[in-house]
């Protein structure tokens, strides 16, 4: 069945194959099974059918609250990150002095570890001594309490997400470099203005990259966890209790592993559905230059 060559290959690949099977494939299916169980780690899983799912949808206000929170975050953070990423990339694609310095500066936030950037932003957004409110005070505006205000906590995290668009920007920059110069030359010969070239050449040619970032951004946003865990722990008044954070609490704080698995599968279905919808829509707005 296997020849010697195959066997050697498989043996060399076995650490990753075993790792994938043990740490990804098995937990994936185990979580599906556990989502139909009452499971608290200490005792064996106890099959309870659809109860976790019905409880989630009918008897858990915090589930809905956390779902709304993550939808709010996604609805603003993803489009804004795309918009700012594209704008930055366009600005940094220009031929100006010190371009690489600017690129580095804008890319820097995305290589800062999340924990470090979270702590940094906690200081920046400190209502009394934070840089943001200090600057606002200079122009006569008394800033809000940001992370401590239930009305401003999510916008604060969205602002922070936009600050970290560097990695999106790099992908857009690569996308911009891919656009054939001939298209611009043709457009210029046709008398297209700079705005028209951007609107009818650059943006359409960039849509495959935007599409990629949109899909990745959506998946990432629905799994939003670390910043909220570090900066607000879900507060104030559950305003930053995002879906993944709620899931984590259910699993490791309240020991409801089965319930948390059900939450994970609901999230999985939501993300798959939204990603599928985005994929379906691409025929209408993504241009592959064919």
């Amino acid at each position: 069945m296997f020849n010697r060559r195959d066997l050697t290959g498989w043996l060399f690949a076995s650490p990753i194959v075993i790792g994938l099977l043990v740490f990804t494939v098995y937990p994936f299916f185990a979580s599906l099974y556990l989502s139909f169980c009452d499971y608290d780690i200490f005792t064996s899983p106890n099959w309870i059918g659809w109860t976790n799912y019905t409880t989630l949808f009918t008897q858990d206000p915090l589930f809905w609250k956390s779902l709304k929170n993550v939808l709010f975050y996604t609805a603003f953070a993803v489009p804004l990150s795309i918009a700012f990423g594209v704008i930055l990339a366009l600005l940094l694609d220009a031929n100006i002095r010190g371009l690489s310095v600017y690129r580095t500066l804008f890319f820097l936030p995305s290589i800062v570890p999340i924990v470090a950037s979270s702590v940094l932003w906690m200081w920046l957004l400190n209502p009394r001594i934070g840089l943001v409110n200090t600057l606002l005070r200079l122009v006569g505006v008394e800033g809000p309490a940001w992370l401590n205000d239930p009305g401003w906590s999510k916008p604060s995290l969205i602002i922070m997400a936009v600050w970290g668009v560097g990695h999106f920007m790099i992908i857009y920059l690569a996308g911009l470099k891919d656009i054939p110069v001939t298209l611009y030359e043709a457009a210029m010969v046709d008398g297209a203005s700079a705005w028209q070239r951007m609107r009818h050449v650059t943006l359409p040619m960039l849509t495959p990259v935007i599409f990629f970032n949109l899909v990745m951004g959506l998946i990432g946003a629905f799994q939003y966890f670390t910043q909220a865990f570090i900066m607000t722990a879900g507060g104030p008044l559950d305003s930053t209790l995002f879906y993944a954070l709620n899931l984590f609490y259910q699993a490791f704080r309240y020991l409801k592993m089965g319930y948390a698995s059900a939450m994970a599968w609901v999230l999985f279905v939501i993300v798959v559905a939204i990603t599928a919808a985005v994929f379906k829509s691409q025929g209408r707005w993504v241009h592959y230059g064919r």
Partner: protein, 440 residues
């Protein structure tokens, strides 16, 4: 050749991950091992090591091997689930009801002679007994309890023309002097907090309320005295501006050790735990401050408050339960309080039985640190409450914090916030499908 190399590499990697256990350093090779996990680091770890050394030298049957395991209960939880837990471990008290309910920890009364348990039960301070007990069995023995009382700065009293030798006995009095102790800058922003009501669980006890009825084994979130406590707390938010106080507090350094804003004078009166006495001795030995019991409201209870602590527990799957129990007796001093009293002075810990408090070495400690006495006196009070022994304790804590925040921000009425919390808890308890397990 290639296949041999690949196979060897695979086996090595597998062994590294699955089979390798690093060599263990043992001082007393022939003795039975007692693996002890705890959460203390730096100076605290030194105190623990001293106690462990003392124990290991005191007998020749067991060797306690301590291991620092930080990161809360998660690692212990996974080790327990994996069937390889330590023999004993120090944990915060909230794991007791949740883990006991699931049969994950050993009832300590099952490891004692009946007479020993009856005797110990009668001697333990009420809070220690209540926290350690779940459904008529005793699961955790405290090594260090926490009690909260008032810390205040007499110099601030003098500045505000108040008598520094008279600390309020009633809550009305406290409300009045708090107002006089607040300071503001030119723009009307808070410069010093006189006193700010927070931490609802203490005030519930102080107001004579309760979150739990031990007789009927039911949560009593809507106890009218609980509502009264939260209403009083919310009045502080209203009076001094919740947002303003929050903004002021946000500008302060962390509340840890040397950074505690009480030291820099940001607060005149605060409700805080006994460990601050030791911290102030270390980091601000010249600070002028006093401690006092919490003032009592009308209809409230004296020497009241909420207490928690570190508890030693023995996992169900522990390999050496007897050894673990022996070590716990030694440390906690339930067998010989005079001996263990010394450990309590090393850590600045509150005694768990009166005999420890009465031991000469502990009395000497109190003479040296008289401010600690307030807390020791409170330990014996029957009005000290603990978090209800419900299996949804972690959820209760989270919702209690929410209710306090919601009412103090003025987003919910105090009664409305507690009602919402009550609904959440009832729902959570209904949704819990724990199999009824016999303890033991």
């Amino acid at each position: 050749m290639q296949i041999t190399a690949a196979a060897a590499a695979t086996v090595f990697v597998a062994w590294l991950f699955l089979g390798y256990t690093p060599p263990e350093r043992r001082t007393y090779a022939g003795r039975e091992k007692v693996v002890f996990w705890h959460m203390w680091t730096s100076n605290w770890a030194d105190v623990i090591n001293r106690i462990v050394d003392r124990y290991n030298k005191s007998q020749d049957r067991y060797e306690v091997v301590p291991l620092i395991v930080t990161g809360g209960s998660l690692k212990t939880l996974i080790a327990t689930a994996g069937g390889d837990p330590p023999d004993c471990m120090a944990q915060w008290e909230m794991v007791i009801p949740a883990w006991a309910e699931r049969g994950a920890i050993t009832p300590l009364d099952s490891l004692m002679e009946p007479e020993e348990w009856v005797d110990l039960k009668a001697r333990l301070y009420p809070a220690v007994r209540k926290i350690g007990t779940y459904r008529d069995h005793f699961y955790g023995l405290s090594t260090g309890m926490n009690i909260w009382a008032m810390y205040y700065r007499p110099s601030h009293f003098i500045e505000a023309d108040l008598d520094p030798n008279h600390f309020p006995k009633t809550l009305d009095e406290l409300d009045k002097i708090a107002e006089e102790l607040y300071c503001y800058d030119d723009q009307g922003r808070i410069r010093r907090i006189g006193f700010m009501a927070n931490q609802l669980r203490h005030w519930i006890a102080i107001f004579g309320g309760s979150l739990y009825d031990y007789q009927s084994d039911r949560l009593t979130i809507m106890n009218p005295r609980n509502v009264a406590a939260l209403t009083w707390m919310a009045s502080y938010g209203e009076k001094y501006g919740f947002e303003q106080v929050l903004e002021f507090q946000a500008g302060l350094p962390s509340t840890f050790a040397a950074n505690w804003p009480f030291i820099t004078g940001a607060y005149s009166i605060v409700l805080d735990g006994q460990w601050r006495v030791e911290q102030l001795r270390q980091y601000a030995p010249d600070l002028d401050y006093e401690t006092a019991p919490v003032p009592t409201p009308k209809g409230g209870k004296p020497l009241a408050g909420w207490s928690n602590g570190n508890f030693m527990i023995i996992p169900k799957e522990a390999k050496n339960k007897e050894g673990a129990m022996e070590f716990m007796r030694f440390w906690s001093g339930v067998d010989k309080p005079e001996r263990a009293a010394e450990f309590y002075t090393w850590g600045g810990w509150l005694p768990i039985v009166p005999e420890i408090a009465e031991a000469p070495i502990y009395q000497e400690y109190l003479r040296k640190y008289p401010k600690f006495r307030t807390f020791v006196e409170m330990m014996a009070s029957p009005n000290i409450q603990v978090t209800p022994p419900t299996p949804v304790q972690a959820f209760l804590n989270q919702r209690l914090f929410w209710a306090e925040d919601a009412a103090c921000r003025g987003e919910w009425t105090p009664a409305g916030a507690l009602e919402e919390m009550d609904k959440d808890l009832k729902r959570e308890l209904t949704n819990m499908r724990l199999p009824a397990k016999p303890a033991g």
